[in-house]
Amino acid sequence: MPVQVQTAIFDPGQLLNALHRDQLGVGAVVGFVGYVRDFNDGQEVAGMLLEHYPGMTEKALQKIVREAEERWPLSCVDVVHRVGKLEPGEPIVFVGVSSAHRSASFEASHFIIDYLKTRAPFWKKEDTAEGPRWVDAREGDQTALDKWAPRS
């Protein structure tokens, strides 16, 4: 099960270690963890609510993982994304990739989180001192995709 959407908190270290376990052909594991920060866009953040599109979310993530698997020779991929109520300091998302060599693991995990940021149906609503606010999409998340465009 390479893709998991859940309300429960998770342990990033455990997920990182699980990507290698007993696979003696794996030389390189890369794990990315996104955390809730206590500050964003100039405001203190006391927590957030993560909304998603049940049904579509898992499909969107699986499609992104399949695209990565077509592009790089990977052993295992693991994506866990939380929804619901989150506190500052809690992990939001884990993207882990194992492979024989390091460049595939680095590039595939970076690719997956870049695509997740612009293609997977999640929306963050932050609690700030001025009340709740929907997080605005970052321009940089779109331009981050440029590096994955096929080279001519």
């Binding site: 909304e51 579509m56 939001i92 997740l116 940021k117 293609r119 929907w134």
Partner: protein, 82 residues
Amino acid sequence: MITVQFFARYRELLNQDQAHMHWDEHLDTVGALRNRLVDRGEPWILLSEPRLMCARNQELCNLDEPLRDGDEIAFFPPVTGG
């Protein structure tokens, strides 16, 4: 029948997460559906914002995506997960 879903800011501003609409031959694309909703006036006009994203049967699509009776369509603002 078309099921239309709204998420996040759209869901809040439209004050609903779901609508059902009868399909007819003029509703031949997801964009035509969007336009029919926008024509209702406030607050539906917000669906005309250029950054709107949409999905047909739970897959991202463009506004020129063909629409068929029975489809599940979703409109939502740019995603902000991760």
